[in-house]
Amino acid sequence: MKQVNIRSAKNLVMTFLMFSATVAVLIPLAIIFIHIAKMGFSSISLDFFTSIPKPTGETGGGMANGIVGSGVLIAMASAIGLPIGIFGAIYLVEYGGGKLSSIIRFAADVLNGIPSIITGMVAYTLIVVPMKGFSALAGAVALALIMIPIVLRTAEEQLKMVPNSLREASLALGVPLWRTTFRVTLRSALKGVATGVLLAIARIAGETAPLLFTALGNMFWSKKLTEPIAAMPLQIFNFAISPYEDWHRLAWAGALVLVMFMFTISLATRYFSRQRN
């Protein structure tokens, strides 16, 4: 009887500890969200989305150039990173095998673990220095380098999950491997691959470090991709460390918009991954 009591007491304590741990995971998220919402919500106006930052001293202004700049950078990075990541995954799963595959996999994992500031430095050396100037292009390359391993590995996992019987069904009808890959295998894995793509986009949308010495950022509309371009995270960073109250408020608003963007992407990913089953 005594033993049973001790056991149920232990059970109670441990359950409580685990419950507390769960709550502890949620608290930081809640704090961040509430705090950013409180600070940022009042500064969000139509102006925030439609106008560029005003010169210091003037009140008002927005982050329109940063929002568009982030969009441009994400689109360019995706244009570079997605084909490489997805084609790489196709090669590994459908055509590869052998030693090269494990080398590529290992390289992707290492690349994924490299601090993003270093990725920025690489893009700086490879593009900014030879082209003699900061540019949207350099920023996009830095972000693409972050995207590639994420897309490669998630797409690889998803392609592996496609049952072999489907590939065989197609091949046995005399459909060449490349058509089978695109029209049967990739199509079956599409939702999973899309999830990986969204995760990669969410990741790069918030990256600041790789843009510091590549895209650099500016306070106006960029006209060329070979010139510096504004981006949300860069603008938040610059405004937050500035001494002006008005810019601080814009930084909070920017943070809120960015967090909402991530939140939307997370919801979309959940939607895609649930659809599959």
Partner: protein
């Protein structure tokens, strides 16, 4: 009746493991040839070598000759894609394309190759489904998902999909092992009709099935061909003691 397909000294290796050893089988045109033997004897491996499915497995290697109308399908410049168009395959588990409708599944061989025209497609789909006696069951729901069909219907759909591309040889890898007896009977009846037009090779672990549907039977054991003869002979008066033991259920 000529010999449509001829296996000459075929070996299949997976890495260093020799799964099929010096197998010789003649597949007569417009006849059904059954390959029987206990699990793991290499019967599916033999079948899959006939439409070069082993190409997809990096460690697999096929040696010897497989002659389709006297041309070796493993010749250096033989094209596996066009070979698979001439030698279709039906698999153990029905494998319709889950994202496609019944209609699209039948026409998949054309559609996936990007050469399907509307009117021709309608004819091919109707003809193929009628051929496998599925038309009356599905004609009102051709646009519905193929996954709504029962297992037996799915397997007949897969056969329709295979004959839609007009192959010359049809390989069947235990096509009834996932089906109930009624669905099995329907497929067997279908096999009997198919041989009017096609050369059929069927792998089965069900000896009664081999006896019922085939004209010739090959008995494989541990990767070796033990005996190959007319089905009647194999099941009533086999040459080898080994075959007799297997057929009478003394092992396997």
């Amino acid at each position: 009746m000529g010999i449509k397909l001829k296996l000459e000294g075929v070996n299949v290796f997976f890495g260093n493991n020799r799964a099929v050893k010096d197998v010789n089988i003649d597949f007569h045109a417009n006849m059904v040839t059954a390959i029987i033997g206990p699990s793991g004897c290499g019967k599916s491996t033999v079948l899959r070598s006939i439409n070069r499915m082993h190409d997809m497995v990096p460690s697999a290697r096929v040696t010897g000759k497989i002659l389709l109308d006297q041309t070796d399908i493993y010749e250096k410049n033989a094209d596996p894609v066009s070979i698979r168009r001439r030698i279709g395959m039906v698999f153990q588990k029905p494998n319709p394309f889950p994202a496609m409708s019944i209609y699209d599944n039948v026409i998949a061989g054309y559609k996936l190759n990007g050469r399907a025209n509307r009117q021709e497609s309608d004819e091919i789909v109707e003809g193929s489904l009628k051929r496998v006696a599925l038309w009356d069951e599905v004609k009102d729901r051709l646009k519905k998902s193929a996954m709504e069909l029962s297992g037996g219907q799915q397997q007949r759909l897969c056969i329709a999909r295979t004959i839609a591309v007009r192959p010359e040889v049809i390989l069947m890898d235990e096509p009834c092992s996932a089906l109930d007896p009624i669905a099995t009977a329907k497929i067997e009846e279908l096999i009997n009709e198919l041989k009017e037009q096609y050369t059929v090779a069927i792998v089965t672990h069900n000896m009664q099935q081999a006896a019922r549907v085939s004209d010739y039977t090959a008995f494989l054991y541990l990767g070796e061909l033990i005996e190959f003869d007319r089905t009647g002979k194999i099941f009533t008066n086999p040459e080898k003691k080994h075959t007799e033991d297997y057929i009478t259920g003394r092992f396997g």
